[in-house]
Amino acid sequence: MSTLGPVFKREFKSYFATPLAFVFIVIFLFAMGAFTFYLGHFYDNGVADLTVFFGYHPWLYLFLVPALAMRLWAEERRSGSMELLLTLPVPLWVTVAGKFLAAWAFAGLALLLTFPIWITVNYLGNPDNGVILASYIGSFLMAGAYLSIGACVSAATSNQVIAFIVSVVVCFLFTISGAPLVLDAFRGWAPLPLVEAISSFSFLSHFAAITGGVIDLRDVIFFFSLIGLFLTANMLIVDLRKSG
């Protein structure tokens, strides 16, 4: 357990050792701003809330979070440091958790840096800050869920580009699993409970529930179970590779 600290710290700092952290944060903030003000017509809406801003988060995460996660394991495998990492006396679950938490903390940092928009909206009017806080928490949880998918996919390959593309596709399916595009593929033949189960995996609907201002325990549990599920799969994939 006490080895979690060093694993976390090394991974977190590694984002800042290259221009990756800087590029990611700049593009993240720029895209958030562009989406909110130009596509979302933040000013024209004339409403002092951040619904528009948070509405774009799933779509932005869809591309940016896999970019954050793709190197987590693929890079270790490619450079050979995987062998060093797995022969150090660190339980595998600590390594998996440490890497994930580092990436999640980094995503959280990027999210926190969007605070100027919160200041803006408070300057312009009297938004419901409780709803905004709930939305930030929801957005952070959703980022974690996307990250766990990305980490798991990254563990399966030594190629970061493959890790990125496959993660985006899997994340996309989870994002829109409540939409007709996915559900129509099942509706014809699958039993109704299955179709409902698939639709309940939709990040969009769980996130929308939270941005509505209510942090329902069910939505929180949904995101945490998904993270747990994908990190367990991540562990199994790393362990399977051991048996060559």
Binding site: T3, S79, E83, T87, P89, S243
Partner: protein
């Protein structure tokens, strides 16, 4: 103390290590020899817990590497093939990470790091990113990492590969200096190295032990009294097609 019993590893149809058994006692420096692809690295990967054996077992200081991986890994220092490290880190940061993972902190970490740095003669490059270092220095960073916690068992995969003659001499001195109370296994292609530092030479070929003697006794097997003639005799017989 390393006890290996009937260790076997197959990759698809190829048997990389076949029913290998060895006991290495403290005070021994075992030179692990064999042509490329003989199974040296695969054996080391299994003994250090990176690969899971298909059959057989390995015990390090009494800890089974499969059942009690972390305890076994604590007693071991390992330099993997190619000395992988985190290239964006400096040796100082990298060794700090290793010390943390080895659960050394404060004065103990400082003393251990200083000893390892002095042993591997890294003093002059402590603050340069590992990626920018020469092959020789990178190898020494890997060596410093392996000896940092003063382990009872040292497993070094080609520790002097890429070093110039002076550096080789220094590293051999370092290994000889540690040999008294440690169990050391080094793999190498340099037969003069075996004569210089090893108390025991094991030659493997196609995953099997074909010789296990003192370097002197082994050399005496050939009419010329030279180790490389014995090596060639023992390992080209049935791999003639592959070796040419």
């Amino acid at each position: 103390m390393i006890e290996i019993q009937n260790l076997t590893k197959r990759f698809g149809p190829v048997t990389a290590v076949a029913n290998l058994s060895l006991r290495v006692k403290p005070g021994e420096v075992l030179g692990f020899l064999g042509p490329n692809g003989a199974g040296k690295s695969t054996t080391m990967k299994m003994v250090t817990g990176y690969l899971a054996p298909d059959e057989g077992m390995a015990r390090i200081c009494g800890h089974d590497i499969v059942a009690d991986t972390i305890a076994a890994q604590r007693t071991m220092g390992y330099l993997p093939e190619g000395a992988p490290a985190y290239g964006e880190m400096t040796p100082r940061q990298f060794l700090h990470f290793i010390a943390g993972v080895r659960q050394l902190s404060g004065a103990a970490a400082k003393a251990a790091t200083e000893r390892a740095v002095a042993g591997a003669e890294l003093g002059s490059v402590m603050d340069q990113p590992i990626d920018t270092l020469s092959k020789g220095f990178r190898r020494r960073v890997g060596l410093a990492q392996a000896i940092l916690h003063d382990p009872e068992v040292l497993i070094l995969d080609e520790p002097t590969d890429g070093l110039d003659p002076n550096q080789k001499h220094a590293v051999r001195g370092l290994i000889r200096g540690m040999a008294k109370d440690k169990t050391i296994v080094i793999s190498t292609h340099l037969l003069e190295e075996v004569e210089a530092i090893c108390t025991r030479a094991v030659i493997i070929d196609q995953g099997r032990v074909v010789a296990d003697e003192t370097p002197r006794a082994l050399a005496a097997r050939s009419a010329t009294g030279r180790l490389d003639d014995v090596f060639r005799q023992l390992t080209t017989r049935d791999t003639a097609g592959a070796v040419v």
